[in-house]
Every structure is written in C-alpha cells, then in structure tokens.
Amino acid sequence: MESAFINKLKPLLDAVAGQMDVYVPKKVGQHFVYSKYDPSAETGVEFNNVRVCTPIKEFLFPLRELAAVFPEPVEPKEIKPFAVFGLKGCDLRSIEILDKVFTEDEFEDPFYVARREKMFIISSDCFEPAESCFCSVLDGKPFAQSGFDLNVSPVNDGFIVEAGSQKGRDFIEKNSELFSGPGDGLLAERDKNRTDTQKQLEQNNAELKFDAPIKRIVENSQDSDVYDEEAKNCIECQACTRVCPTCHCFYLYDTKQKDYFAKMEMWDSCMRLDYATVAGGENPRKILGDRLKHRLMHKFSYFLDRYGIDMCVGCGRCVDGDAGGIDIRAVFKKLSQELKGKGKKKAEVGK
C-alpha cells in the first residue's frame, strides 16, 4: 500500500517508537524545536505547520563529535536506528545537499553514512508557510517529493500517510491494523491543500521574481558594494550559518585526555574572522563584506558548479535567525537591480 489513512498521529508515532527513538517537533515560544517523543505522555504530538527552527543537519552531522582517538584507535560507536517526524520539503532537499558532500566517492564519511542509513524520515506537508519561507524561489515545494520514508498530510479528520521508500512500505504493511484506505476524496483534498499552500508561498514571494537565474545574479556581484553595505548590519553572530540546514563547515581540533588523545570535529562558520587565516597571518577574507560575498558565492555559484545543485533550499531560517537583520531575499533584490542596471548601461554604450 503506497498511501493510507490514519485518524490520529499518536498511534502512528507510538508504533514507530516501539522500534526506535523518535524525535518530534515541540513548540517553544514562537518556534518548533525537536525533542524526544514520549509515548506515555497524554498530550501526544503537535503537528508543525512549518519547518522547525533548528536545522535537520543536527541529526546527521552533530554540532560536535569525536572524530578520532589515538594512538590506540577505538571502534566507533554503533548508531542505533532513530526516527524524525515533521521534516518539510526544504528539509529533505537539505539532506540531498549534505549527501553530496558527505557521501562523495572516495571521501565518504562513515559516521554520516551510518546515521543516514539509520534515520527513518517521516516528513509532513507545510500548511502555513512562515513569512521568511522562500523555497518556491528555488523551485522547492511545500510538501515532500522524494527522500522520505513516510509522509504525513493533514486532511479532514485525520492524516494521509504515504510511503516513499521500501522501509516506509514495510512499516505500513506491518502496522496495517492502524490504517484504512485513503479514499479518492481525501487524496483530492490533500492535493488541493498542497496547491493552496504553494499558491500562498508564491504570493508571499511575488517580489522575488528575477529576470536572471540567481547564479548569474550572484556571480555578477564580484565588484558590488552591496556586501559591504550589508556588513554594516552584520554583528558576526554566525547564526545564519548555524541554523542553515545546508551550511556544513567544520573544524578539527585536538584534545588531550587522561590516557589518550582525541581529535574532535565541530561546526564552524565562514563568517568568523579567522576562518581562513593561515599560520603566517594571511587572510583572504579579512573584510566582513568579503565573507558575506563568499558565503553567497559558495551557495549559488561554487556549489552549483561542483555538485549541480544550489546550496540553499529557501527555508528562511537565516532570515529568522539573523540578529543583525540581514535578509538574503533583500540582498537578492539589490543584486538583481544592479545586474539590470549593468544591462542598461551596456545597451546605452552599444547605441
């Protein structure tokens, strides 16, 4: 069975929790964050209408982890199966992007791969896009298209559960007593909900229709003053890179323990002043505006050249998280205007 119907989320999550740890969205203040699901709690689980605040990369590429022990290596800890509920279309695309980096040919990261294989993904449709959501600008959809094991779509009186992988199909089959057939009416309702949300997103982002691809807009901005202007608002908090689900910079550092040495791996940020500094003191990006520019170039030009995909999913977490008020959408608009201006100048010179 590819699709099924279920009245409530609790029995679904309880069934998953019978097999593995499950992480579910929990509202804290205005935002959702992840916490471990407790089947014995009466309150059940909240359906997150929008992506959670924290990036999904946390589950695959933890903030800090033990990378190596020496001189005597130790067997790495086995990763236990775990499930995460409530990933959105943008989150699934962010995993696709991280896969490019961490499962690359000869340099496949075994820790990432183990977590990736053990992660049971239960995605869900978006209902109320946040003000900052702009996935539609990057060809994203407010619902899952691929990369999930199960997807949950709210409909009248319940949820449609769709399998997106063999693991998902097996789950529905094994727990068939929980589900009933979805019925054509409910599927049509789901599709209408999706179309409505998509329309709403496009409406919210109507101003972000550009004449040129973002790649060209960003590549054209090498000499732009926009970055130095934006840098005046940047307080170098690095939040944009922390909450970004696709940013994956890290650094390695060494520690001395009682009877062994350890190499640790920890998230880093290309916004940090000394991020690229070499031992001799040279730093190619000592100017903050240059660091902002590098980040955009990486996301929309360099990464695309290397992996054939933008390193941004339009989730808007950086917009929400930025303490200085830099809005990547506004930066696009300014850079797009500059490109248009250049086009005009050229046309005039040509006359």
């Binding site: 190596a68 290596p73 067997e75 650094y251 190499k263 070499v278 031992a279 040279e282 190619p284 990486h298």
Partner: protein, 273 residues
C-alpha cells in the same frame, strides 16, 4: 563501522635538523610506511595540541620515512619546534594533487622558490633529479632573506650545484660579509632567456607576496597562465574538500590543489592573501 576519515596513523620524529633560525626539518617515520606523490601534503598532528598541513620535502621514493620542513609561524608550528627526537606524532594523508611531473617530460622545468617554499620544491627537485634525462632542462632560481635563511644549505650550496642537467642560481635580499653571490629579491635574477618559454613550465613556491611578483614577471616574459604551476598555501584542515577553510573560489585547495596553474585561479579575489 569504518574508522573516521580523520584517524591519523601513528608516527615518530626520529631526527630534527636545524635549517635556519626559524626553520627546522623533522624526519618522521610513519608506522607501516607512507606513500605520496611529490607536491601532495599531509596533516601532521602534534597529539593534544593540533594539526597543520605540510608538504613533505623528501623524495617520494623513500616510503619508510619522510622529511617535513617547518617554519615557526603559529601555535602548532611553535610547539613542534619545541619537540625533541622520539616525539610521537599523527599523520593523515597524503592529500591533494601534487605536481604533474609526467606532463613536464620533454620540457624545460623552471623552478622559482623562496624561503620555506623550498620545502615542497626540494621534494620535486629530488624527484626530477632521479629522472633528469626525461626533461629538457631543470633551471632553479632560489631566494632567501639572508644567507643564513637558506634551508638545505649543505646540498643547496654543494651537491645540487654539481648535478648534470640542473642549473641553479641563488640570491638573498640582504647579504652578509661572506656572501659573494646575487643580492636582490628573487625576481631580480629571473631572465627572459633562462628557459625557452615556448617549451617550458614554471613551478613557483614561496611566500604569497613572492609568488605574486614572480607570476607577474613570468607573464611579462611571455609565459602563459597555464604554464605557471603555483603551490597554494591556504588553511587546509580536513584535507578532503569538506570543511571549507581552504576554499579558493570554487576550489578546495586541499583536494583540487594545492598545485594550480595560474589560469585556474587568477580571476578569484585575494588569491595572494
């Protein structure tokens, strides 16, 4: 589960050679031997302190031990300079592309080095010297701040100068009483007819400012950007094109480099910083 990508192999420093007041060479024996191509680099860990990228200065023909020449420049290199014989270290790698020496066959190889930049060049030099007949000629131009700052003094002033098929010229920025050779930065000893540019490659390694001016000089002589091989020094950390620290435009210097022909990187901002 497989071991981490960042698991170093164990090694030991078996000899330390004072090269100049700020530079030492460390002879390292990695457990189980170690293979690399000339121009590739390794991440050397001083346990509990940190790691840093270095290009071995020895010939890849020796797989039992390698030599790593290190200038005291930052925290890790400072601590390495305090180390004694017998110090345990970790080694990861080799990483990066190295010099494409097979592409140099039949050509004149014009090597320009400065300061500690002689370290990777020594490895290249020894590799070329092993099969010197494969190349039309090997022409070297080395510079140092003062005569005392030259590294590999014994061989540089001695046996290397007498090798067949190899020509070497040296210069210093500031001479002392005994120095009878050239005085001036390395660009002052470069001449347009040092090699037949049409059938030559240039290999440049040294401090960023020196690489910049040598590159400009070579272009002025008529070298094309794709004939100039630069060994780029960036903040390589993971070594495998993931952590992002060494990005130079779209390239990861650790994975796509550290050797680049100038045409590949010339349009990116601040490449010499």
């Amino acid at each position: 589960m497989k071991q981490s990508l960042y698991q170093p192999i164990n090694g030991e420093i078996v000899e330390i050679i004072d090269e100049s007041p700020t530079i030492k060479s460390f002879v390292v024996v990695p457990e189980g031997g170690f293979k690399f191509k000339t121009g590739q680099f390794v991440e050397l860990t001083l346990p509990g302190v940190g790691e840093a990228p270095f290009t071995p200065s020895s010939s890849p023909a020796d797989t039992e031990k390698m030599e790593i020449t290190i200038m005291k420049a930052g925290r890790v290199t400072g601590m390495l300079h305090e180390c004694k014989k017998g110090q345990k270290v970790g080694i990861r790698g080799p990483y990066g592309n190295g010099y494409p020496i097979d592409d140099f066959a039949g050509k004149e190889v014009y090597i320009v080095g400065g300061g500690v930049g002689l370290a990777p060049i020594r490895s290249l030099f020894l590799t070329l010297a092993d099969r010197v007949k494969d190349f039309k000629s090997v022409v070297c131009r080395y510079g140092a701040k003062t005569p005392e700052d030259f590294i590999y003094k014994n061989t540089l002033f001695g046996s290397w100068q007498k090798m067949d098929g190899i020509e070497i010229k040296l210069t210093v920025d500031e001479a002392d009483g005994q120095w009878k050779d050239n005085v001036g930065v390395v660009t002052t000893i470069l001449e347009p007819n040092d090699v037949n540019i049409k059938n030559a490659v240039a290999v440049v390694c040294g401090p960023p400012i020196m690489m910049k001016f040598v590159t400009l000089k070579l272009l002025e002589f008529g070298f094309r950007a794709e004939q100039i091989y630069l060994s780029m020094e960036k903040n390589m950390s993971c070594g495998i094109g993931k952590c992002g620290h060494c990005m130079l435009g779209k390239y990861y210097v650790c994975k796509d480099g550290p050797v680049f022909t100038y045409d590949r990187i010339k349009d990116y901002p601040n490449i010499w910083d």
